[in-house]
Amino acid sequence: MSDLLEVRNLKKYFPIKGGFFRHTVGHLKAVDDVSFSIPKGHTFGLVGESGCGKSTLGRAILRLHEPTGGEIHLDGTDISRLNSRELVAHRREMQIIFQDPYASLSPRRTVMQTLLEPMEIHGIGNPASRKEKVLELLDIVGMRPNVLHRYPHEFSGGQRQRIGIARALTLDPKFIVADEAVSALDVSVQSQVLNLIARLQRELGISFLFISHDLAVVQHISHEIGVMYLGKLVEVASSTDLYRKPLHPYTKALLSAIPVPDPDSKTRRTILQGDVPSPLNPPSGCPFRTRCPEAMDICARSMPALKTVGEGNNGLPHQVACHLY
């Protein structure tokens, strides 16, 4: 199975301004040396706490943020080296679905305008064929054609999210970043949208980077899952492995913290102490050591590298960055 997307040592640092002349006095390492790959037709789930750099990673891959360093290979092309004109051409191949169903659609544009725009920009087809494509997309996301001339505010959150998905599909991308695409939805609608995404992926063979803070959601939809903590990937494994045999103490804590909708569930909960450290001055060594129940001396001194510790049931390697292993 070939990898559609390969991310190598991706970094995204935001400059911190300060001092008398408001020059850059330091960097906020939102994404720090992250590598992973996604095979064609696979979904890679990304979980982690708020502010750990998930969105930044997703956006850096699409070059909506300019990466500070690293390589991004999409279907053989190094996205990170394209100039702006080439980039526009490659935007067809990668798209994004956003979290906020209210903020992600242009409020003063009709569904029709929103869906036609990407094709117009890229000069795909003629007006008639574009229209046809729009209708086809609406059908795929399960909406009737009579919505075409309505404005976003006339739809419910779930419906908007579908329009957002349809927009991402207009250019027939190979790769889509879904950044918390279902987090803002009510549970009953959330599952509808999750089903839709899963179906699209199966039918169209698109690769997804599925970002969420909800492990349960990610586990359901992903083939492989990466756990992020303070800008770094701390564990990568196939979704079944990660749930069955979490290795990193953070992953364990994360899993046990998920409230299970079953009053009889008897899982032992690991309650983490303390708060997420500020990414502005991360702790030395392993970033998790300040909250880690199993921290050792070495953790303060060196940052453990992400290393493969075994192979899961479906041939995917299980990687973890922890001194315990």
Partner: protein, 326 residues
Amino acid sequence: MTQPLLSVKDLVIEFSTQRGIVRAIDGVSFDIMPGETLGLVGESGCGKSVTSLAILGLIPSPPGRIISGSIRLDGRELVGLPESEYRHIRGKEISMIFQEPMTALNPVFTIATQMTDVIMRHQGMTRKQARERAIEMLSLVGIPSPGKRIDEYPHQMSGGMRQRVMIAMALSCNPKLLLADEPTTALDVTTQAQVLEQMVKLQDEFDTSVVLVTHDLGVVAQTCSRAVVMYAGRVAEQAPIHPLFNHPQHPYTEGLLKSIPRIREQKLDELPTIPGTVPDLLHLPSGCRFVDRCYRADDACHQREPDLQWHNDQAVACFHPVGEAS
């Protein structure tokens, strides 16, 4: 049988909006026993917050208005209570924690000012005593070095800490009832677990009744003893936690429970869903509010609204509860 601490009966609340009169709460009833934790669940917009605000007498008016019904605290009627008297109940007998830890605290005053104001007002302490009490409360909710942090401003704290401050503040006057409106929704799972645990612990300690408003059934399962499931301004089902999760009777509860994504050994190809969306309160279907999305609906459901029917300690508003032959 013990008297309920709080008893809500046939509450009806309307909002007048530009588009017309919205009946946000339409005949809601439930009781809370002393020391009990009651979950109030339902999807966005079903009226959870409005209900809890109504208990505190904080429905923004205009546009909101309590049309009818009663809310009794220890037998005392709260609906129609004048502001001047209500003020003495708020914070003292009933406290509230709000969802947004970022905005619920006043950004321009220190934690100390905000907490001591409340304590002084309701406990008649001097500022010094109140401050001591506040520090004690902060340490109870697990804030490290509370003596120092009490003089910080809200923005200097993380979301989880702020929420804990809110809890400390809410419990500082030993209220009989604590209303928690989605207290952890805005927090990360790990923080959420911390805060919830803290809350449960303190509740035991202070023997406070809690109404926990949430849309997360997982949270309910782990913290509540009983739950009320609301749908579009009405109570759909009300039951102790075990029967509710194991034998839901309302098709909505059932659908809700099924569609929650949970970590499963065996991955499902497709998550079960409830088709459709929550109806707009201005354009409710005739009959049962859930009728358009219900797989068990028949003509009767289209014609009449079902009332809440009690079976032992479980109540359901459905003509064809799950488990009955349809």
